[in-house]
Symmetry: D2
Subunit: 171 residues, 4 copies
């Protein structure tokens, strides 16, 4: 049994990208990293809109696109290239269920990346490159009903230490 896919789920500004970089630094083998941000990047407004209060609205057709995207990630992993996938489960448990179906048959490590809403909101200001409001609005909802193999909380733990915790679960 070998970990083939690491799924990191957490709200905006919860610290997923920093953890991904640290994981790639810590893990001995090369991992491909693909994030939902890459998928969402420059989609037409009919598919994704970012509201003034940081709310993300996904249009008709986004679900199909995302399913195809995850099916591709599953193929990469089956073909021998392990993948770190970072995601934002806007639909909580339902999003995980959809991901689980796409990744069926693979050894997946499910990781929850938590961050206290007020701390994530502060980091959103410090970053200066995100729509203000996303962090707070997603911090808790994305974890509702989601089941993890391991959870980390970046509120008071450094990215590198979170990555070490996760890496210990990678087999």
């Amino acid at each position: 049994m070998t970990t083939q896919v690491i799924v990191l789920n957490g709200g905006s500004s919860s610290g997923k990208s920093g953890i991904v970089r640290c994981l790639k630094y810590l893990l001995p083998k090369p991992w491909i990293d693909l994030g939902v941000d890459d998928l969402v990047d420059r989609l037409p407004p009919s598919m994704v809109t970012f509201g003034q209060q940081g709310e993300v609205t996904l249009g008709k057709g986004f679900g199909d696109l995302q399913r195809a995207w995850m099916a591709g990630i599953a193929t990469m992993a089956r073909a021998g290239a392990p993948v770190i996938m970072d995601d934002v489960f806007l639909g909580g448990a339902a999003s995980q269920e959809r991901a689980r179906m796409c990744l069926e048959g693979l050894d997946v490590l499910w990781v929850g990346v938590r961050c206290a809403p007020d701390i994530a909101a502060g980091r959103e200001i410090a970053r200066g490159d995100r729509v203000i409001g996303m962090a707070a609005s997603q911090a808790e909802t994305v974890h509702q009903g989601v089941v993890y193999d391991v959870e980390v909380d970046t509120s008071h733990t450094e990215s590198l230490d979170c990555a070490r915790t996760i890496a210990a679960y990678v087999v």
Copy 2:
């Protein structure tokens, strides 16, 4: 017959990324874009090294990783999500052959993105974020023996106009 994958091949600083953005702006459906830069990003030095003169050296194991990556892209396209893949065929015709095998059975539009070596080298300086030398060293070698459905040359044609030419071939 519907175009499922657009492969853009061209050297560093030939203008592929600008063309991708324009294609996504012009094409009516949403396309996923994935580039070899995403794959190469932060791989361990045992896999990819960038020399002082801009030469790129791929280590043992990179080929397998890339094949898995392309197999995943093929799955995305088969599952209904069209993909724009930008690549740098360091091995010329042999690289295309490898890509062709991974994308077998799919409707692929092969696009050559050319740029005169001295112009690409100048743009590399103007960008200021690339290893100097990559543009000149790759400008012509990446096209050796490669067969295209359509070729564009960014030397004297704007990205948006190149994208319009390509978009006319997308069915």
Copy 3:
């Protein structure tokens, strides 16, 4: 007589930043480069707002801030550090007059960076990181009534070649 300040004036997406990088590459001495984008970055909305059509509105108090900024640039140049300042003369000749007063007594090279409106608009799409509309709305207005020592046009000339033309005027 030695050039102490190079002022580059041109609309958004006219290619100023690429020319600045090439100038720093070509010129033998080290130059400090400061752009109005650095000044405008993260100012409160009471000072600068970017409209949906790409129009830039400057609030009360922005003029004072900008005058202080330019006075500082003048001091740097007088103290022996030559400065490349890139700017967008939203007020055309009146903006130049204001800059001229701030830079009084210094050897200034006034450079116009032109780009055909439709070409600048296309490059704005290709860049993917600017409010759409700024390029077209500024392309011509920023040059109205402005007097230059040298003008370059990036429509059909590469950044590096434009920089070479400008560098020949630097004494």
Copy 4:
């Protein structure tokens, strides 16, 4: 008495930029922010070199350039535009003395931004865009002999909270 310049001194990856963004968010007036990174950016290698172990070497002539730069910042502040200047005092107390002379006559708030060396080194990995080694090598040396009005430590305190502490000293 009104604060005219805020000088933030801290090593690479100590968190200065995030604090600057939060300060601009918190402070009621608009502040200009200028950092030594802007100055160092794209200087010729004869002026600045970055070693493999993260060490920064400044060439002959850099001191003069920096003095002119700070003289310009002093002028901006005197002309009514308050400035946040973030710096890395590679020379410790001697660097502060030099800055003090350039800013003479101005109301300066001296701020130390500390971060434990191992934590800064971890954040350097998580950022993924810095030469590895800079954080650890600068973390303590830049504070040697430097005298502050207020010190913050980002090791266990968020950027926004550090900024709040600093903002309370701004008059």
